[in-house]
Symmetry: C2
Subunit: 404 residues, 2 copies
């Protein structure tokens, strides 16, 4: 398996584009993206668990009932959520894409991200569609990735190449997600494309299984968004024999998918609103994986710990505290905690109590941009990883006046 | 019922004091407080639900098994938690108080607040006790309130006078609590004294019932502390006939207690770390009170909403979002939301969708220091109130390097 260029266009048969259509006032910011497959693709998606669901998610869910899609259209700047005419507008977006790209309306996946509760005006989308479709190309992943960004500071994009059945296969993804990021699917927008041949049933199974240990383990601020989703399109153009059941080929597919999703998880967490650091909390020795997950999530969500990490302060008591209120079945007097980065590793807590450690070395480790928080519960073999970021002045700044 | 001066010394038979004993380096900061009752008092306490519990809480719980206490000792600057010798030190604190004040060791309630995981040295407490006890007086509540403050910016103190049985009764309280404040008892330190005569059983019942709608409905940052507790001492010196069962006198007592606790809740929430505003979220029309509580807590805990309030931004979509992920059984298409302050009230969302409103007026309302967020679920009669604060630069600053 190797990392390659091309993002969502790396796989055979996919093109993409992103333009400034005028949904946002800032003319230098792309705000409308499209990904298109030459042929119908097996597709699956997972959606936010928030009871308030964006209208685009409802339309996408209906369109994906047959497990087939050809295009993903997504605007930024407006979430098309909590609007009386939301469904109508989301359907119209699909219709406009279908007309211009000459595909079926129900083969379009539609997504929106941005402010909630402000009507989405369709005109810029209608007027921009000709340009958007005309510009679809094999190098368009960058522009598509830009078009879905909101407060993101970096584009999130990856592609990999691997083999199934002796056939070269490719998979690529783009993502957005910065605030309102919290466990319980699907808390960001992620679009993945691949040319692997796989049935709609198996791609659904693959995605549902993978997100439990990837996107559901990312938290930026504990707010589960109303709008976000992860979707995957597999158009079969790599020409492997179709994956229709579990087995060796499916395992390879799962491994490829996991490579793409973990990479995007880390990019999303590290680019959390205002973040200066990526935090990776690795829990081991838990009673079971579920317990490890509860602990990892609780730690990564602690505002106090996140603020301490911003200050490069080895305040491990806050980790013990977050383990203690997590609700997980843990013997707190057996807990060990270490911090780790490219500058080394340091044990700060053993058996639930502090140990003598060099504050200077801890500071050096915590001043890095990627920090691992290693927690051993010393019980059984359960383990889990969660990703998050520090809490900074800029998080407050970005969210103190997001709408203006 | 009327508000009076005197804090925890307002009730007959109670004296208090607070000094700088040397636990903190800053010599201008009091760090050791004591409250003493002339006679044994019916006492009850509620404790944090965090699995990691401060050593003082364990010692207090043991001391309160008989429902009787005479003194509360509390230091700030060190939480005496996650230390190998924590229990020993907490017991020693009780012993030192007992020796100097000539009371029984098991009649002492002990509490500590501050950094977790750093050994608490007993010497300053031992050396300061003579001065602390000698200085006990009827005007000592202010000093005691100061001695328990950590990152608090204001003293939290109240006293009231009321009648039971034709006898004048008094009740007063002091509190600390600023960060690590979150539902699920007991997430701050609150010491309440009264001269009402009430049995240990009934005072326990009163406190356990009251906190469900008061301290458990306060959140500053979602982190449930390891150390905090609420305790009450009733020394009976008002000479009413002892309250030993439910009835009119008990109801009066409950009302007095609720007045004290709601006042302290609002003070704690409004003085949340870095806070510039007190947020009061009032939910009505819920299926039942439990549903209303879940919704109110979810809204008050949303980092995104808290940051929006800091920016006086009427971003009501974040309220809908927090309702949607709360887990409560709610029809999101029936939700109405208004903002209210001394500058007026404004409806921003009706039936789950935005309404036209004056952004200017909304800004004017939200620029005030006390904001009510009114949510009507338009289902049945369930209601609840939760208290919190905005999320600000200073929260990050305070917690980015708390230990130094």
């Amino acid at each position: 398996m190797k990392i390659i260029e091309g993002g969502v266009c790396a796989a055979k048969g996919f093109t993409a584009n992103g333009i400034h259509a005028g949904i946002r006032k800032n003319k230098t910011k792309r705000d409308l993206s499209l990904i298109l497959s030459e042929v119908p693709a097996s597709s699956a998606a997972v959606y936010t668990t928030n009871l308030v669901k964006g209208a685009p998610l409802k339309v996408t869910r209906a369109n994906l009932l047959n497990g087939i899609a050809r295009a993903v259209v997504c605007n930024s700047g407006n979430a098309n959520t909590c609007n009386a005419n939301g469904i109508e507008i989301a359907k119209e977006m699909c219709q406009i894409v279908a007309d211009e790209a000459n595909i079926k309306e129900e083969d379009v996946i539609v997504a929106s991200t941005g402010v909630i509760g402000q009507p989405l005006v369709i005109d810029p989308i209608k007027n921009g569609m000709k340009e958007l479709v005309a510009g679809l190309n094999k190098n368009g992943s960058d522009n598509a990735a830009e078009g879905i960004m909101t407060t993101d500071t970096v584009k999130k994009e990856i592609a990999i190449e691997f083999e199934i059945d002796g056939k070269t296969c490719r998979m690529g993804g783009i993502a957005k997600g910065s605030g309102m990021i919290h466990p319980n699917m699907a808390t960001m927008l992620v679009f993945i494309t691949t040319d692997v041949k796989i049935s709609p049933e198996m791609i659904k199974k693959a995605l549902s299984s993978d997100i439990q240990n990837t996107f559901n383990m990312v938290s930026v601020d504990g707010d589960t968004s109303t709008n976000d989703m992860v979707c995957i399109l597999a158009n079969g153009m790599a020409d492997n024999s179709e994956i229709t059941s579990e087995g060796k080929a499916f395992d390879k597919f799962m491994k490829a998918l996991n490579t793409v999703t973990v990479y995007l998880c880390k990019m999303i967490a590290g680019d959390g609103e205002g973040a200066t650091k990526l935090l990776e909390c690795k829990v081991s020795g838990a009673k079971d994986d579920k317990t490890a997950k509860i602990v990892a999530k609780s730690v990564i969500c602690s505002s106090l710990l996140k603020a301490a990490m911003f200050g490069a302060d080895a305040n491990w008591g806050r980790i013990l505290c977050a383990i203690g209120y997590s609700g997980a079945d843990v013997d707190v007097e057996k807990v060990d905690v270490s911090f780790k980065s490219c500058k080394g590793e340091i044990l700060v807590c053993k058996n639930g109590a502090g140990v003598d450690f060099s504050e200077e070395k801890a500071k050096q480790i915590l001043l890095e941009k990627e920090i691992e928080i290693l927690i051993s519960l010393n019980d059984k073999d359960g383990k889990a990883t969660a990703w998050g970021c520090d809490l900074t002045y800029d998080y407050v700044k970005i969210n103190g006046d997001y709408r203006t």
